[in-house]
Amino acid sequence: MNVKVGAHAGSVQAAVEPIVSRQSLELERSNWRIIILIGATIAIWVGFHIWTGVFISPRNLSNLTVQAAITAVLAAGLCWLLVAREIDLSVGSLLAMCGVLCMLLMQKAGINAYLTILIVIFIGIGIGLLQGGLRVKLGIPSFIITLAGFSWLRGLAYVLSGAETLSGAGDTFYEVANGQFPVLLSLAIILLLAAAHLYSWLRAYTGLIGPQRFERRPVNLVILALSIGASALAVWVFATRRGIPYPLAFLGLLVFVMEYSARNTRFGRYVYAIGGNPTSARRSGINVDRMVLCLFGLMGALAAIAAIIQTSRLDAGPPNVGLFVNLSALSAAIIGGTSLFGGEGRVLGAVIGALLMASITNGLSLAGVDTFYQMIITGALLIVAVSADHAAQRRPK
């Protein structure tokens, strides 16, 4: 390490230090990882576009985001659970159960769409807390608790629905996943977000506006370029004919809140601390049990929200829906850089992992290829992504 250099330049640095504080190296590393993932996604898009000729179009990309949103919402929740050394194998079953409940509440009980959404989210949280509570109180690994959930929640979905698929929930509910913001509003949102990002970037890295807080490192230039590119793409996709789909808007908000919390709140930091070293976290006064309980509650809420999007999209609540979504969401989180051993992973990575997987499914179906191939490709992708991580981690040591 360059301890000596630091000591030698100590007096010189003292004057500079208050202005330019160093950035987190861990964050920079994970940023590079996400950039590579985005690069891979873009490459897949271009490849499919050359193959099919219709992949990169506003219509298809807009569809793609809604398709990815369901897996992505689950992957976001799973990401934090995995970071904290927990797992949830029951989210697919919970999704089916909540979907059935949506239809039952609206059709059989005659409750309106808004209230239904609220009730279903609360039930999702309740079941998450129940499983988390069992995990914490009985000390049984979450793998087993949620493996049980995988079974009993699916069974409950069949029992509640009588193994029948209810469909037709009415216009309001249908709009949840199939509606979009008006084009002009979408344009305003995109431009506003782009401007906000540009402003904070200029502020933090250049010192052109306000004090410079971080160094101008290559990774930050790439981030700027990507965000400008993404904004341009978003204007083309979401501000020409159709606006931003509601599920995408929710997903965007979710990613922002979770990424922000991970870096800037105690809760977020403790999720990572528990994953890094549960003993040390407990000894530092962190209530590990309560944190785990909260994470399961959050996962329940997200599973319920994914169910609402799914049910609205299909306009039906089949009890056998989402048999594989649990494993796809786990794959997405892992491809996105989440470690199965805890302490590592970012929600943004997990969500882009979901987008990447949805891109392959979408592209293959556009090309008229059997979607079974998608399963083979996902398997290969998992191994490639994880072994690439291993290789990258071994090198700097």
Binding site: G6, Q23, T265, R269, T279, S280, R283
Partner: protein, 257 residues
């Protein structure tokens, strides 16, 4: 034994006993540690050292006896209570979260926050960075980038971060259970140097180690624990390693009452 100055001591332990079923881990231990003093504790495996430290740190409830922290009698055992009253513990291992950076580790569980938009409490990164840097400067600990995850540090550096963390909130007593056991002799040296600098901050230190030479060169006083009792209390300057070994083993020492 010091009995008169109880009020001024950082920690004072009286007739402390702990039974695990039929096993008597400690059998009536009494001692005081004063601010600015390093007290070493040695004893064979199973002598009761860890049990003793856990009772003081609030991790284990004593079967009988009393503990006073800075004059306040401990009513019920709780690690949070002990921490809040100025008892810090440095563990042999598992002390840090590898994935968090140095600054985050120093403030873990005691992050500094400020109100930000829509009223939420946001971590004050800049304040914590400045304070962490200050603390390390004061302790003369030189580390690379504070935003580096602690995985990148050597074992000795990690232990120094753990020690810096333990004195960050002006504790009355820092207990160190084998802080150098996982380190090579050369890597342990800077850690011991750091420990020797701590009394300037008016903190009392209880240092437990199996490396007698470390205890002899670092501590002011040494307590010898044998089968759950204090077999001897000596000044470090008045004893050598061989004598210490004899005291630990109970050879050539008149039977205690």
């Amino acid at each position: 034994m010091t009995t008169s100055a109880t009020t001024a001591s950082a920690v004072s332990v009286r007739d402390l006993r702990k039974n695990y079923g039929a096993v008597e881990a400690t059998r009536g231990v009494s001692f005081d540690i004063f601010p600015g003093e390093i007290v070493g504790m040695v004893g064979d495996n199973g002598a009761g050292k860890s049990t003793l430290t856990k009772m003081i740190a609030g991790d284990v409830a004593p079967s009988s006896g009393e503990i006073r922290i800075g004059g306040t009698l401990v009513q019920s055992s709780s690690t949070t209570w002990a921490r809040d009253h100025g008892v810090e513990m440095v563990y042999q291992d598992l002390a840090l979260c590898d994935n968090l950076d140095i600054c985050a580790n120093i403030f873990l569980g005691r992050e500094i926050t400020q109100r930000a938009f829509i009223g939420h409490w946001k971590l004050s990164h800049d304040t914590m960075m400045a304070k962490a840097q200050n603390l390390l400067n004061m302790l003369e600990v030189k580390l690379p980038n504070l935003r580096e995850p602690v995985t990148a540090l050597s074992g000795g550096q990690r232990q120094m971060v753990a020690i810096a963390r333990s004195v960050a909130y002006e504790p009355k007593l820092v207990i160190m259970d084998e802080p150098t056991a996982a380190l090579s002799v050369s890597a342990g040296q800077p850690v011991l140097d750091l420990i020797r600098r701590l009394p300037q901050r008016n903190v009392a230190i209880l240092l437990i180690s199996h490396r007698l030479s470390d205890v002899l060169t670092t501590a002011d006083r040494i307590l010898v624990l044998r089968r759950g009792k204090i077999a001897a209390a000596v000044r470090a300057s008045e004893i050598d390693e061989a004598e210490l070994l004899r005291l630990m083993a109970g050879i050539n020492v008149p039977n205690e009452d």
